[in-house]
């Protein structure tokens, strides 16, 4: 199985969502990035499904299945 690779797109620049929010907040309140980060980071953190046990387990299992399939395909291809 091949990993899907996108061609490098150097025209549009990638922006980290969190940095974008920090910049916006800093401009909005006319404060430093560090001060803005103190406001933005805790809020942003709440959007991370970080401790969703069921979700993590599901992702892990699906990754695992996909991965095993990739290995199987590799050996089949070899034969």
């Amino acid at each position: 199985m091949k990993l899907e690779l996108k061609p490098g797109d150097y025209e549009s620049k990638f922006e980290f969502p969190i940095l974008k929010l920090i910049r916006q907040k800093a401009e909005e309140l006319d404060i430093s990035y560090c001060a803005a980060a103190d406001i933005v980071v805790p809020e942003y953190q709440k959007t991370v499904r970080y401790r969703d046990h069921e979700f993590e387990h599901e992702v892990m299992m699906s990754n695992d299945a996909e991965f095993k399939q990739a290995i199987q395909e590799y050996y089949e291809r070899k034969e």
């Binding site: 990993l3 969190i18 290995i71």
Partner: protein
Amino acid sequence: MNLQSIADRLYETDVLVVGGGTAGCPAAWKAAKNGLDVIMIEKNHTARSGHCAQGIDTNLNFPRPGVPLKLHVADWQKRHHMFYGEGKFCDPNIGWVTFEKAYWALKQMEDMGCEMRWEKGPDGKVLFIPNMFFGGDENQIAVHWRNIKRDMYNACLKAGVKVLNRIMLIDLLTENGRVIGATCYDTREGSFIVIMAKVVIMAAGPLARTYDSETPMFYKYKYRYHGAPGALSGDGLAAAYRAGAELVNMDIGNCWFYRLRDDILMPIGQVFHRDGVNGRWTDYEGNQYPPIATARLYAELEEAGKTPVFLSQTHLNEDYQKRIEVATADERMVSLKLSEDRGFNPAEHRYEIQPMHLHNFATACGIVVDETFESNTLKGLFAVGDIAAALSSCGPAVTSGMIVGEAMPEYIKNAHLDKQGNVDMNQITAAKAIVDRYASTPDGCNPIELEASVRYISTVYISQYKQANKLKVGQQRLNSLRREFYDNMDGSNPHHLMRCLETRNIMDMQQVHIDACFSRPETRGNYTWQGTWERDPARDDMLTYQRMENGKPVLEIRHVPELKEKYVNSPDDAEIECADLYWDELKKESERK
């Protein structure tokens, strides 16, 4: 000359804790709770320093119900094979104590104010999960991403620990084979400090700055302290060694890689713990290969013209990326900016597998201690956490710290340490002379550049694939650097002077490392001796011990200790302290499966 005139600040205390990390804080807190005067020094700031300062998501090393402790200990010893290869590398008695007291320490940790339960509240659910890195057993608990360091710091202050931040250890003070205090340096004000203590607890962490810093890999975001310049220069190890404490396994570096080619290593293909994602590797065209990369497979690919190979993070889910962003923005926002400027896109980026090298000393290496965590050669010196041989990670760090803190009042009473030791002024003037020398050498070598040169020697001439000739050249180069610059570094401001002291420690420890490697001209642990490719099975369970005796280095190769009779003969169903508070949950979880 008296003590008052030479020291800018002078303290007297019962217990001095060196290092305010995940092991130091529990030790200081527990000792203070037990009514002792405690001073804790920390080179950084205690609220933000140490491996766990960016938060922990798991805490490990908890024995399972119904499984005899001796099996846990045997498994624990065996687990080190994963890092170090065949043989035993750790004292099983240390393993026994950390397992036996794991739940007790967890309880203490909760008392300290660290939330260790999955569900809120004192009776909330405890979530036991498999240790995916070592495989199988549910011997670790998942916790919400917690910055336990802030909790620990606050608990220490509340318990009355005198916390001295930005203070670095220079050397230990000894009297007749017993530690009686330490000389320290204020890295902000530049003042010279003497602390007299009845007991010193060393919790300064492992040594991670003898090799070049780690090759950046996506799964190391959480572990980036390995390469952080702000810590882990082996100050505790070097000071303990110079004072006469014994070190072990200093020939073995830490390396979490497979060998693909002599100069190319592949990280173990697993994003750590419960992230739920495997590391993947591909060739240039994006074809995936089995997760365990082997030298043979790599050779095949090379022959077929499909190298270089890449590690990919294109499959990582959005949450994983967000977590990295949060951790990075919290600590070094500028990294995000730089990454953007350089066109980095985490959803598309692949890392080329390139020459990598050892990066750390951990787990099996460190100060030799018995099960009370006291040094075997230097009385009054205790070592807890990563700096002690055989201990590693948050769980054992906290456990060892708590055990030592708890034992301190009794120890001080039994050892009749009712008054401070007599100071040998020569030791203090020697430490002061080091500081003064660096402070008055503005034309000296930049210590940061010198550190880079020293670490380069390790990477190029010691490394994982050892050879006598390479080691000899490494030794020659180190000798020439020592001759030129050991006493001749520029410490004209307090920060530079701290780096001078750190580089001095790194150079001392590199010498210990080279000596240890020379002593074992064989393939051993996770390194290969080129020319002698085979292991020597007769020496599999023999470790290299090093110490200073009367100013001379002494090296011995001895067998790793056996599990003591009292542990071997203990009943299989012996009660584990405080386990009841947590085991119920584990039992339910086991039944559910």
